[in-house]
Subunit: 356 residues, 2 copies
DNA sequence: CCCACTGTTGACAACGTTGTCCAGGTTCTA
DNA sequence: TAGAACCTGGACAACGTTGTCAACAGTGGG
């Protein structure tokens, strides 16, 4: 039939109504006032005498009434909730981003609905559309795909969208990125400055914008130093430990020109590379994109290009709420700087023979 | 022009209605059919001819219609969303739990709304009640406080609640815990088996259930070995690096009986302790509760009592959905086993003088 | 030809809330 | 004392969807 996305509510569930919830009508009846008066009390609107308010409050607590925000949302048109779609909630890089967005949402009295796309564009789409159906006021998205035309009806209807970490496929949306190109270039330049000439690059899949940007930074740094790049030193692909391990070992043992240093394209790759290097007979310098917890305590300590994931999230969410508050200036593209954190790897244990 | 702005939900926000969203009514008008027919098509209900369905589908895509789930929720009484409240979304221990709950929710066609309580009972309550107002179908809570009577009206109305990681203050709710007592006892026993007699315990604040359970495990292991516990070896309190550092240093240098080993009560404490020990002149054994990423690569590698955070989340969410599907058996209390992961610390570098 | 039946379709009420508007009553002003 | 201005409170109609039920056309049997 059609490619109708699976609708959450279409899952058949029994509806055990232990007891119907009290509504404003019930409260009104018990307090002996009109419906609207209850509404006024609940919302702290003026125009209710202290005595009436007291009666209503009493009825509310007696009945255990709690306003039904679904009805409220329907009536008001705003949900006071925003959506966040990212790759993996559990990834140490995205978790702080998630938290930062939540914090900003909280400051604005909004709730956060979120989900993981698992780097699958179809799943991203499904999630985003589910959020749209819930009529979230705004959306922060770490895009998995690059075609977001399906969002156009939504944005036309007033949905605010901010892409973060990677650009999305909607020119009309704000975007918050790290300086992936510059960061990678700086990291590779750091290795070059310490005498390395043959440097391997292991990154994420080429369809991911950050992966290609970082690779671009790697090439720029090499070119700036006048160093040739053997294509066997470059590998983009899935970040599964198996692949990364294989690629790292291949580059480290490659004939005729094994690399003396590695630049790793994100936190997962770096973690695997550290494991490989820990058992490797020859010292190899390593600089990684993304900081790791306890990276300072590893042997050797890992030099990294750190992104501020929380700041990415905060900036994106701030931007989103500014839009929700009415800012309709041209879409922005914010680029946050990265920071080189030198921790010894690269200079404490540089490859002994710096030649070639 | 007059209806350009509308009032907000909780905070005053202008409401720029770029264009009103099309509703089923609009779709029906365009397709030249009745409202209910559109509803049928949208929900895949039977009883619509292929020809009519086609006309409706066409109108839907032409108008960019998307069903408003708020209205649907109001009508149906179920939101197909669940809430998750935990301490900190960004904590490496809770992030996988979050992800696991999301995954289960997704399998059940539900969305996940979540928030961090920041270990503040008032904030937890605020969050939980906001979720109740949204009429989430169920709630997974890592309790910050121990009084959850405020939830009683909700559970009476059919809200399913599962506490995870720590027991909550509602006897009627399911609870999923790790074997904190047994895990800590095993970890401390491991240290004792390697000759340690003076072992320090640094844990989280005493009002947190897991902290006291783990301390109980520590005492049990010491008692089982017939070892006395000097109260200067025990410290419960905030897990801020400053405090942990100070306590660790105090125990390590204490007169007349410095500890030769430390048992740390959770991942944050362990991380700080590792930093302290890395600079400490004397080798000190360390076993920590909770695994750390890259813990195997630290020097010395850290032996841990690992909890499966994802499994905690999965179990809790499974339990929740079983309740939502009608299971009304007696509340369960599930206790998941922990796993001792021996990584060298404790035996590779035992305190040299094992005496006293 | 009528009747019962099936299959398709739409009119209408409800879900629980808030915005609009108007009815009373009270107090202040002229 | 009339009139205006204000305060309090309630009736009612939306918001967009789905459940109920009835209308209607077409079909086959008697």
């Amino acid at each position: 039939m059609s490619d109708r996305t699976r609708s959450p509510l279409s899952i058949p569930l029994p509806r055990p109504r232990y007891g119907a919830r009290p509504t404003m009508k019930d409260v009104a009846a018990r307090a002996g006032v009109g419906l609207k008066t209850v509404s006024r009390v609940v919302n702290g609107e003026p125009g209710v005498t202290a005595e009436t308010e007291h009666r209503v409050q009493e009825a509310i607590t007696a009945l255990g009434f709690r306003r039904n925000d679904s009805a409220r949302v329907l009536r008001k048109g705003r949900t006071a909730s925003i959506g966040l779609v990212l790759e993996d909630l559990a990834d140490p890089f995205y978790a702080p981003l998630n938290r930062a967005v939540e914090e900003v949402a909280r400051d604005h009295g909004a709730l956060l609905i979120n989900g993981s796309s698992a780097e699958d564009p179809a799943r991203e789409r499904e999630l985003v559309l589910a959020l749209c159906a819930r009529r979230v006021d705004g959306l922060v998205v770490v895009p998995a795909g690059d075609d977001h035309r399906y969002l156009e009806p939504e944005t036309a209807a007033g949905l605010a969208t901010v892409f973060v970490d990677r650009p999305g496929g909607l020119t009309a949306a704000d975007t918050v990125l790290s300086d992936n190109f510059g960061g990678a270039r700086e990291g590779v330049a750091h290795l070059i400055a310490h005498g390395h000439r043959r440097i391997g690059f292991i990154g994420d899949q080429p369809r991911i914008h950050t992966a290609t940007e970082r690779l671009r930074g790697y090439r720029a740094a090499m070119a700036a130093a006048g160093l040739p790049v053997d294509e066997s030193w470059v590998s983009l692909g899935p970040t599964s430990p198996d692949r990364v391990r294989a690629e790292a070992e291949r580059m480290l043992t490659g004939r005729p020109s094994p690399v003396t240093a590695l630049f790793t394209g994100n936190n997962r790759v770096t973690a695997t590379a550290v494991r490989v290097l820990a058992r490797f007979p020859r010292p190899v310098a390593l600089v990684g994109f993304d900081d790791l917890e306890l990276a300072d305590l590893l042997t050797p300590a890992v030099t990294v290009i750190a992104q501020d994931a929380a700041q990415l999230g905060r900036t994106a969410a701030d931007l989103l709420f500014r839009r929700l508050e009415g800012d309709d200036s041209a879409p922005q593209r914010v680029e946050l700087p990265t920071r080189l954190i030198v921790r010894g790897s690269g200079e404490l244990r540089p490859a002994p023979g710096t030649a070639l």
